[in-house]
């Protein structure tokens, strides 16, 4: 599956490990929360990057105490109208201070890129055929934000809750 990282389509260095498959000794791997819990003691010793994927009904709070051991958290959109992952993403970033990679998986459509970016996602597993141009178009489509969110919650106290977003989205693409 193509991976969009900060506006660039890249080769995904991570692999998803299904529950019934052995976790490779090396290389970045994403496992389920159940797997993580079951094998936590062994996995904290693993040297290579490890990520956990949460289903839509698993909450940010369920990994809050494990964030030091995780380099990536993948949040699922089983259908793109299921918006729970937006709240879990914001909680991971803003409440629990997760600094690793936050990835959107599942039914990820370009009409949601902007919202995902604003809620703290930095990588998206996207449909075949989507282009970087689609990403830029979707994220740049609306340049005004009427409310603070994850993407700008670290700025100085605002004079107004409204703001133009260009600076933020350029920053994203430039640093990608």
């Amino acid at each position: 599956m193509p991976l969009l990282k900060q506006g660039k389509l890249i080769e995904d260095p991570w692999i998803h490990i299904p529950d019934e498959v052995a976790i490779p000794a090396s290389g970045p791997a994403i496992i389920s929360l159940i797997r993580w819990r079951a094998e936590r003691d062994a996995l904290v010793e693993r040297e290579d990057p490890l990520g956990v994927r949460l289903t839509a009904d698993q909450t940010a709070g369920e990994v809050a105490d494990d964030l030091d051991h995780l380099d990536l958290i993948a949040l699922a959109f089983p259908v793109y109208t299921d918006g729970r992952a937006y709240s879990n993403a914001r909680r991971l970033r803003e409440r629990y201070g997760f600094k690793g990679e936050l990835r959107a998986i599942g039914n990820v459509l370009r009409d949601q890129y902007l919202f995902m970016q604003r809620c703290g996602f930095d990588t998206l597993e996207v449909k075949e055929g989507e282009t970087e141009e689609d990403w830029r178009h979707a994220v740049g489509a609306i340049s005004v934000a009427y409310q603070p969110a994850t993407d700008d919650s670290t700025t100085e106290p605002a004079q107004s809750l409204r703001q133009r977003r260009q600076a933020a989205s350029f920053k994203m693409t430039a640093s990608g």
Binding site: T59, Y80, T81, D82, G83, R84, Y86, S87, N88, R90, R91, E94, R95, L109, D111, Q112, L114, F115, M116, R118, C119, H137, A141, I142, S143, V144, A145, Y146, Q147, P148, A149, D152, S153, T155, P157, A158, Q159, S160, L161, R162, R164
Partner: protein, 556 residues
């Protein structure tokens, strides 16, 4: 009213272009109807029984004369020359063509209007007291806070895919005119213990198939924390609201299953963490928004206008209209005027393009270029000099907008029903029209006094039947349109949900049934009692007896 600046305008224009692209992708087949549906719904575009329907937002019901002229133009050019005002202070066009909707949105954007979040599982158009800024009984201008919420909720990145739609209403008057207790969040302005102005927050109200009255989740939230408090509510709802069954997905179901105390614990745990963050409302921002709602240049006038007194004495019809269709203004010498969109033969809430143009002109002359849409599907001129009421009345009468029936039995709320709506079981508009005809005698209507009659064509309750003093619900009985009657509902500060009186009636019989109920009230009322008071004193039984006699079981 709130005037857009460059930033506001930029967002709306960009949203139009974004939607134009989405429509192009749908028309080219790149997007399936299933994929397009949630996208079009985020822009107020429904697929109805016969055609698309576009719902245009009128934030908290406030619209300027130029904006109304634009709506007239759009209805004339892209639709069939009329629009329908809804119970959520929006305007619906019933016959737009999909390929023309982007152009309609472009035209709307030219006058700072849009259809953003008038549908879909998002935070909907924020509604408020239609008398905001004018009402004699208000403690603040509810429009200021509705606008702040409108801005915060617009394209909210976290809350655009909620379990279900989410409606917020605001009032700053003790006499609630915005039905806030039947919203997902209802906000009432209150003074705190030290006199500070803030908000009581209610949660979990709604109608539909499971009607519930909102409960207070917090007695007092200071102004600066308004947005963080409602963001905390929305976050808990987004995470915990049911998504497995759309009929159990509204926040009222969550409130019911958790209990308001448990929900409060969850919400306030979240709120504690975010209340002092970037959502804290800066005083400058409140002032910026407030400055948009500065009162117009009202004159200092005597409290009682001699011109008004003379006109009243000279013309009984005019006096009746003043008594029925105007309300007290906070400024001496002024009045709030209701324009009735419930003429005897019309569809409740409908206005033609020609009427819209004429109303816009009258608002320019008499009420500072500004019009309000009320949730009862009427229009309001908020600031009219009492001395000019007679002139205005003459003009409104010519337009068919001066029926003196505000709050009376013919001031019916009705949904579009089976004439338009894909969800309906039965027609609403023809029933409203037949009731209007039956009670056409204005003397009789006035003798009956305040009587809120509301009609929904299906259980979704868009016509607010649950909160009608008399509510009528269209049901399907073996392929035939039948109507179930409820009594005793109220949308206001004495909120109540109506009780079903008994077996439903055929379309032919329902108007007779209403008349029997009304006549029973007339027989039983004591001095000064409204219909609702009599019902509350005596309950359902006497009405049931008159309506069904001993035949209740047989008819069931």
């Amino acid at each position: 009213m709130y005037r857009y600046d460059e930033i506001d305008r930029e967002l709306v224009n960009e949203r139009v272009e974004q939607f134009r692209d989405q429509v192009a992708r749908r028309l080219s087949g790149e997007l399936s109807e299933d994929e397009f549906k949630p996208l079009r719904l985020m822009n107020g575009l429904y697929l109805q029984l016969h055609a698309y329907m576009l719902r245009i937002a009128i934030p908290y019901g406030v619209i300027s004369s130029p904006q109304l002229r634009k709506l007239a133009h759009i209805a004339r050019t892209y639709d069939r020359g009329y629009g329908h005002f809804t119970t959520r202070q929006c305007l619906q066009l019933n016959w737009p063509k999909l390929e023309e909707v982007p152009d309609i949105l472009t035209e709307l954007a030219e006058v700072d209007m849009h259809a953003i979040q008038t549908s879909g599982n998002s935070i909907r158009n924020t509604t408020a007291d239609q008398y905001g800024g004018a009402a004699a009984d208000e403690i603040d201008d509810s429009r200021i806070w509705a606008e702040i919420i409108r801005q915060w909720s617009t394209l909210h990145p976290e809350f655009s895919f909620l379990p279900r739609k989410f409606k917020i209403a605001v009032t700053a008057s003790p006499g609630d005119r915005a039905a806030i207790r039947f919203h997902d969040i209802g906000i009432i302005m209150r003074h705190g213990v030290d006199g500070e102005l803030g908000f009581e927050i209610m949660v979990g109200g709604g109608q539909g198939r499971t009607p519930m009255i909102a409960q207070t989740i917090r007695e007092f939230v200071p102004q600066r924390h308004l947005l963080s408090y409602i963001e905390a509510i929305l976050r808990i709802y987004n995470l915990m609201g049911r998504r497995d069954n759309k009929y159990k997905a509204r926040i009222k179901i969550l409130v019911h299953s958790l209990g308001v105390a448990e929900l409060k614990t969850l919400v306030e745990d979240e709120w504690e963490l975010i209340k002092d963050g970037p959502l804290e409302l800066p005083a400058d921002e409140i002032e910026r928004i407030r400055s948009h709602f500065a009162p117009p240049a009202l004159e200092t006038l005597p409290a009682d206008s001699p011109e008004l007194a003379a006109s009243r004495a000279a013309d009984k019809d005019f006096a009746l209209w003043v008594d029925t269709n105007t309300a007290a203004h906070k400024q001496p010498g002024y009045a709030i005027v209701n324009l009735s969109l419930k003429p005897e033969d019309g569809a409740p809430g409908d206005l033609t393009s020609d009427q819209m143009d004429a109303v816009a002109d009258l608002a320019e002359t008499y009420s500072f270029d500004e019009i309000r849409a009320a949730h009862e599907q009427n229009l309001v001129f908020a600031h009219v000099k009492q001395s000019e009421l007679h002139e205005l009345w003459v003009e409104l009468r010519e337009l068919g907008l001066a029926t003196p029936n505000i709050g009376l039995i013919s001031d019916i709320i009705a949904c579009p029903g089976l004439d338009y709506c894909a969800l309906a079981n039965a027609r609403s508009i023809p029933v409203a029209q037949r009731i209007n005809k039956r009670f056409a005698d204005l003397n009789r209507q006035h003798d009956l006094g305040e009587l809120r009659l509301k009609i929904s064509g299906c259980i979704n309750a868009c016509g607010h039947h649950h909160v009608g003093h008399i509510g009528i619900l269209g049901v399907d009985r073996k392929g035939e349109e039948y109507y179930q009657i409820t009594l005793g509902g109220s949308p206001s500060d004495d909120a109540a949900i109506g009780t079903i009186i008994g077996p439903s009636f055929s379309s032919d019989a329902v108007v007779d049934a209403v008349e029997i109920i009304v006549e029973t009230y007339v027989e039983l009322r004591q001095d000064g009692e409204r219909f609702l008071d009599t019902f509350r004193r005596l309950g359902l039984e006497p009405f049931k007896q008159k309506l069904y006699g001993g035949a209740v079981d047989a008819a069931a």
